[in-house]
Symmetry: C2
Subunit: 349 residues, 2 copies
């Protein structure tokens, strides 16, 4: 089969990976670090693997601006695994947690927690319940394409967050959070891994004596090696964070801001496009909009695909179009999308 030219991939996740990272991963499937075998075939008990994991975590610590008062864990199971682990570790009988629910993912997190204990759901990150054992927010909702305000009144309870779809996509004071997590397959590499950062003080209050695979303290105690890690995803995380550091996070964040601004400006310039998120809540990473008719949307998606602009279909719950603009999506992809939108509107508006 002839190689197809690389497309611009607007998928909400698993998302585009920087081409440099794909090159590095391919090389690591040959001879990793001169060991005569691939990164897939090296024991996690070796110095080589431990150094890889330590580097990935050090990179994250730098990028997130976290000190040694935070534990960083790289666990399997993605953010959905954390929907279960967080309440299982902190939501004891007789306690309750606050969950801010403003979309699909916040609601999903709250529903999982409600299978473990008592959950109060709130619409605004302000009306915190006194005595909550923790408070949970979702910083960005991929389906509706909305984001939480960056600044809101802090709860008295430790603040926890699902940041899967906007971690390291913009400047943020991560130290406001006692614990946060993100699946890696949007901004941090590939599927099969969750990054969890937690203040030691908060973590020390977690339950002990849980089955080890579900227990934060067991994973922390074992330096993240309680069980065989997903070394390939850790390697990808290391390459992606190396790439972010090389590019300069400030440059990446400015680029992300330009990408979103240009696309929203295009959507606002003609009534042909119907952006879905309220202006004040517009997501930086997931831009959602509709066209006048479903038939036009299908034509739009098909013609975009022909131009190498792929995975633009909105989530089935909402329909329409969704362009995800994570870190690895180049500005040229947004330029190509806008050029196509203009052509399409000229013919169809």
């Amino acid at each position: 089969m002839p190689m197809k030219p690389r497309v611009y991939n607007f998928c909400a996740g698993p998302a585009m990976v920087p081409p440099e990272v794909l090159d590095a991963l391919r090389a690591d499937l040959c001879d990793w670090q001169g060991l005569g075998r691939s990164v897939l075939e090296v024991s996690h008990r070796t110095e080589a693997y431990r150094a890889l994991q330590a580097k990935a975590i050090a990179n994250l610590r730098t990028l997130l601006g976290l000190g040694d008062d935070y534990e960083i864990l790289l666990l399997q199971g993605g953010a959905s695994g954390q929907f279960a682990m967080l309440p299982y570790n902190f939501l004891r009988a007789g306690t309750a947690a606050d969950y801010v629910v403003r979309g699909y993912w916040g609601e999903k997190a709250a529903r999982q927690a409600a299978r473990v204990g008592t959950v109060h759901t709130l619409r605004e990150p302000a009306d915190w319940t006194p005595g909550a054992v923790y408070a949970h927010v979702t910083t960005n909702e991929t389906i509706a394409g909305t984001r939480l305000p960056e600044i809101f009144p802090l709860p008295k309870a430790p603040l926890c967050a699902d940041m899967s779809s906007d971690i390291l996509a913009a400047p943020r004071d991560y130290r406001r959070y006692a614990l946060f997590y993100a699946g890696a397959q949007k901004n941090l590499g590939v599927a099969g891994l969750a990054v969890i950062a937690a203040q030691h003080d908060f973590l020390s209050q977690a339950r002990r004596n849980l089955p080890a695979a579900f227990c934060y303290l067991e994973h922390a105690h074992a330096d993240g090696l309680y069980h065989t890690p997903n070394a390939f995803a850790v390697d990808a995380l290391c390459h992606v964070t190396d790439w972010l550091l090389r590019e300069g996070p400030q440059n990446v964040w400015e680029r992300n801001a330009r990408k979103a601004e240009r696309l929203y400006a295009e959507l606002d310039a003609s009534s042909f496009w119907r952006p879905l998120a309220p202006k004040a809540e517009r997501s930086l990473t997931n831009v959602t909009f509709r066209l006048p008719t479903a038939a036009l949307e299908e034509a739009f998606l098909a013609q975009a695909e022909e131009r190498g602009l792929v995975a633009l279909r909105g989530h089935r719950a909402l329909g329409g179009i969704r362009a995800s603009l994570y870190n690895a999506l180049p500005e040229a992809a947004v330029e190509a999308l806008i050029a196509f939108m203009r052509d399409f509107a000229r013919v169809n508006a």
Copy 2:
């Protein structure tokens, strides 16, 4: 850095991957199925991913000899995740489970279950407790290098097994088991994935309303797509099972039997070598032995490494030497090891 020639890797896991599979995985990091992006960058909601997962499961069904009365799930978290999930799903208050403990991994599985409910540990897979809700065995112990007899009196309770280190390494009647699981990084591909096979009848008795990430029935209900799967590991599983089918499982199993027989014969031929496992319990996949002194063992490991025979160090709990002979390890590796052992014994015996 110049590429090092590929070594013979006797690692107990993550283990060697067939070179053909590594080649295929590298290609899949370029343009996967003509989609203009890598396998890492394709949504799990696409037809392409669903077809990949369906093929991996169909291959497993063929190789394991299982019909549609078994559900096959591909979940993150490896076998250690299953140590937690199995009791969490089946070990209700007021019930108890039997765990056969004959080594490190059996003990670890039992200890995790004991954090969830009542566990009876047995030494022999015979003295089953009446009324157990399930009975659990570990078919092969990687650290001691021992295996369970293939045939033993079946319990009345549904039989469950950790088969991480010998799944598809030899013929087996998998239909004796109500549920079995294996981490993929020894015989089935790469780390970050567990294969779980379970009879529908048994599975239907599992708990509901658990947090979904921990709940077998939720994963089954979502066709294994409750959350973003580790697509790379599923792709590796598909390539490894394709490779097994091409090689012919019978041929692979005969090769495995020859590999183990030849190595044990070499160990039995001279008192210089001190095989660790009782003869009747010798593992097919993990051959453990000691040399007369710790200094000789260090010299053995260093010289083996120079000959490109790597990861032969025994587990730290036991010391000595361990040669793991999983499916992807070629017979030539065992021949090279034996040739080296003869040279080493000639000089040092």
